[in-house]
């Protein structure tokens, strides 16, 4: 649509590079949109018309998306290329069956990585007593052999929870698209990777085609301003967000987490926030990669990450991923971290959360939940309105999961357990997120510290986060958990879950009830 250019070449080049401000009053406001992006136009002397797309202001999400478009499918749907598929035993067997039935192959076995995590026992991994679990584990082994997929099996150093393994092995990289038949795939967004959970039909689709049929999500920026106080963690940041916007507040959106408080976080802490984006309803959470990200990828034994010149080249590319300064988001929210205090959930939805200094709320005083919802939650949880959070007594403490099962989480917990004992009658289960995390913790002597305090130190797995393996709550049992869901029955039928960060969970194990960790030296 480019007419005869009335402007000099130099002027045009400048106009393109700056997004047209130099055209001054010749440039009119956007008069139409194409794929939600404005197109500018200018009226030049002599009556010739030029239509130019102005330099687009893109979000991190837009940039990753654009790099992966294979084809437009019509009605707003796009065929998107997938760089990595992570696979675990629970949501994959039916997908492999589907491939076999249709006589299809895995298109890119080298981009597919499998691990065993949901079903594996964490006390003794040499024996799987549950025959149904064993069949599922055997099915994944067989499928990986048949389709030529790499499996991080039990007994190997790379076994672990799928969302811990991806980042630590360098499989997860900025600017990539990552999927897995698991909603907590959002975790990988901490690297600036577009990552989200899919169902088994889509697992099969990606295995067969290495693509996904997608419609673009809305963009939602969550800015964490200010600075966290000591002992307040990224778990508190994300729980606070879910309390603010509700468990459906991010549905249909990709969340991008920005702000000084996010920039100050380690990669591990960032993963905790992105991990729980799905608990706010958002399939994906994103954090723009920065020096912290590059440093994480560049250090340690990450066999699938680029090294040397390839890494330098990749970093230069990753730096261009950040959201443009003037890019617009469909929704924005700012949360102040200066005054954020440790968070504790009191109900059966992650949005039912309050400050550790607070009380169990009155049924009609909870934003986003009806009186009936709150009454049902309190009845299930066995709690009365007005009760102080610090008066809630615990039976079990679970520290682990893809939310808080990395080495820094165990260091935080260990700092609390050091020189202290688990309260009488409390069971404290500490489950590393991967075999590598376990080995690292043991190299630092954390395992001995935990066992000396009276905790159980386990093998890697999802464990009591979803209680598919034998690690379960009994009916009525109350647990402080560093995991991600406090749904009814999540940790065992009738079990009652309170979500907290690792040092809050450790302190609760020592005291036998919740305490404000900030009050402990």
């Amino acid at each position: 649509m480019l007419g005869p250019a009335p402007l000099g070449v130099k002027q045009l080049r400048h106009a393109f590079s700056t997004g047209f401000p130099s055209l001054g009053k010749n440039l009119r406001k956007p008069f139409q949109t194409l794929e939600n992006r404005p197109y500018g136009w200018c009226c030049a002397r002599g009556g010739a018309w030029c239509i130019f797309p102005p330099a687009m202001k893109e979000t991190l999400y837009d940039k990753i998306w654009k790099r992966h478009v294979v084809a437009e499918l019509g009605a707003g749907w796009t065929l998107l290329f997938i760089d990595r598929q992570l696979v675990h035993e629970v949501t994959s067997p039916q997908a492999f069956d589907g491939l076999r039935l249709a006589g299809r192959k895995v298109r890119h076995p080298e981009l597919t990585f499998a691990t065993l995590d949901h079903n594996v026992p964490t006390d003794d991994q040499t024996v799987i007593r549950d025959p149904v679990a064993k069949a599922q584990i055997e099915a994944l082994r067989k499928n990986c052999r048949e389709f030529g997929i790499r499996l991080f099996d039990i007994g190997t150093q790379d076994l672990g929870v799928v969302h811990i393994v991806g980042p630590e092995l360098g499989i997860t990289l900025p600017g990539t698209t990552v999927v897995c038949g698991d909603s907590h795939t959002a975790t990988h967004g901490a690297f600036g990777a577009l990552a989200h959970g899919i169902g088994t039909s889509e697992v099969e689709h990606v295995l067969a085609t290495q693509t996904l049929r997608q419609k673009k999500f809305k963009t939602f920026r969550v800015e964490y301003a200010g600075r966290l106080q000591p002992h307040v963690t990224s778990k508190d940041m994300v729980l606070k967000l879910i309390g603010e916007i509700g468990t459906a507040g991010g549905t249909g959106c990709v969340l991008e987490f920005t702000g000084a408080a996010v920039r100050a976080l380690s990669m591990e802490a960032r993963m905790t926030i992105c991990n729980m984006a799905i608990e706010a309803g958002a399939r994906a959470g994103l954090i723009a990669p920065d020096e912290t990200t590059f440093q994480y990828i560049a250090t340690g034994d990450r066999p699938f990450a680029p090294r040397g010149a390839a890494l330098d080249k990749a970093i230069a590319d990753w730096k261009a991923l950040a959201t443009d300064p003037d890019a617009t988001f469909e929704r924005t929210l700012t949360l102040d971290c200066d005054r954020l205090v440790p968070q504790v959930t009191w109900g059966t939805s992650p949005g039912m959360v309050t400050d550790v200094t607070g009380v169990v709320p009155q049924p009609d005083a909870v934003r986003g939940y009806s009186r009936a919802d709150v009454e049902a939650a309190l009845a299930y949880m066995g709690l009365k309105p007005g009760m102080k959070i610090t008066d809630i007594k615990l039976d079990t403490v679970f520290i682990g999961s893809c939310t808080n099962g990395r080495i820094e989480d165990f260091r935080q917990a260990a700092a609390v357990f050091k020189g202290r004992q688990v309260a009488a009658g409390v069971r404290a289960l500490i489950v590393p997120g991967s075999a590598r995390v376990k080995a690292q913790a043991e190299a630092e002597g954390l395992d001995k510290l935990f066992t000396a305090a009276g905790c159980e130190w386990r093998y890697a797995g999802c464990s009591m986060c979803l209680a598919m393996n034998p690690d379960q709550l009994r009916p009525g049992e109350r647990c402080a958990a560093t995991s991600n869901r406090n749904f009814e029955g999540r940790q065992g039928k009738g079990g009652r879950t309170h979500l907290v960060g690792p040092s809050m969970a450790a302190a609760a194990a020592v005291a036998g009830h919740f305490v404000d960790i900030r009050s402990w030296k």
């Binding site: 949501t91 099915a139 049929r213």
Partner: protein, 213 residues
């Protein structure tokens, strides 16, 4: 997949918000490696008592709602995990339509269904039907007053007709791509493979950033 065009059936209410996938299908049933046999475990912990007997208080077990194929619930249905087993349970129980309300308006509108659950429904020929909170409130009122009432969902016309006294008609919105997919009962892998040339061309120029390990 069965195409979805016009469907008539009994409407069963489950009057709760945020019904999560752990409630729809508890984790112990996720160990099954087949794709069938999940229907009997739908809402397991609500549907059965400790002794394994049906819980008579739960609506699905009430005689008036026997054989129901349309379920109405509150907002944020299907939140939680990505387990497609939840949708298999819904479909294999015999449900073809789930109704839930959106909340808010305009740019702030919050969909009635969790993203991954809704997506999984499409793949299994289950229609997730969204209406306003006021409309869903009306449906609950009518279904509670006239238990066992039937409804007809006409996907081409995008209408839900409740055959109560009086009859009520609701118009619903649906994504054009999803509508086409449901109407035709398509196999999306076969559809995607029609783009084989585009995928192959893309792969030639795309950097997947994988170091050879």
């Amino acid at each position: 997949m069965n195409p979805f065009t016009i469907h008539t059936g009994i409407v069963v209410p489950v009057d709760r918000a945020n019904i999560d996938t752990d409630a729809i299908i508890p984790k112990q049933f996720l160990k099954l490696i087949g794709r069938t046999g999940f229907g009997e475990f739908l809402f397991n912990d609500w549907r059965y008592l400790e002794n394994g007997q049906p819980n008579g208080e739960f609506t699905l077990n009430k005689p008036a709602f026997k054989g129901a194929t349309i379920l109405v619930a509150r907002n944020n249905f299907g939140c939680g995990s990505s387990r497609e087993h939840a949708v298999w349970a819904v479909a294999q129980y015999g449900l073809r339509v789930v109704i839930a309300p959106w909340r808010g308006e305009g740019g702030e509108r919050i969909p009635g269904f969790a993203d991954i659950f809704r997506n999984n429904c499409v793949k299994n020929g289950v229609l997730t039907l969204e209406l306003s909170e006021a409309e869903v409130e009306k449906i609950f009122g009518l279904v509670n007053d006239q238990p066992g009432v039937q409804a007809t969902v006409d996907l081409p016309k995008q209408t839900l007709t409740l055959h109560g006294k009086p009859e009520q008609v609701f118009q619903f919105e649906i994504d054009a791509g999803v509508k086409n997919y449901l109407l035709r009962g398509l196999d999306d892998i076969a559809l995607t493979l029609e783009h084989e040339a585009a995928i192959a061309a893309f792969e030639k120029q795309h950097n997947v950033q994988l170091a050879t390990a």
